[in-house]
Assembly symmetry: none
Homo-oligomer: 101 residues x 2
């Protein structure tokens, strides 16, 4: 049975793995978090953002993740991107991470 999909207590979400990229995709780190708030704190520490404001978007399409509820619906190892002031999500193809011949 798939234990991971049958978590019985939504009130106490388990700690799960996520990946967080910088806006230019030059740095990507694996971070464990049990909530959006927890992830935001850890991103701040890990990417040494000090007290500069930032938002988290999905790396794949730039979807802003603002609510705990939506965060909890995301899969393990979802890749986030940190956007600081003035930074904008760009599709991966423009930055050379995908190629088609």
């Amino acid at each position: 049975t798939q234990q991971l999909l049958s978590e019985p207590s939504p009130a106490a979400p388990r700690t799960r793995p996520y990946r967080v990229s910088t806006a230019d995709r030059s740095v990507r780190k694996g971070i464990m978090a049990h909530s959006l708030e927890d992830l935001l704190h850890k991103v701040r520490d890990t990417l040494t953002l000090a007290d500069k404001p930032f938002s988290l978007v999905l790396e794949e399409d730039g979807t802003t993740v603002e609510t705990e509820e939506y965060f909890q619906a995301l899969a393990d190892n979802t890749v986030f991107m940190v956007l600081q002031k003035g930074q904008k999500w760009q599709p991966p193809s423009e930055q050379g991470t995908r190629y088609q011949l």
Copy 2:
């Protein structure tokens, strides 16, 4: 067993994740909703549309989603686009989010 995939009560649809984009694709947000009505309310709040009328279409091809029945048949993480008065769906390619060589 896959608890999350075997919700047994069709009368009370489970809350699912959706993505909602502005008409110019500059903002995309993740929103949880259990019905079309719920999503419409949350879109109004999240994208601060105040009391201006708007419709929801599918981001991929501009299909208008008006009925609860059709909404419930859509997949998790379906991407919607908000169209306000005077706004028209445009294909993604014109806005540079996809490239073909």
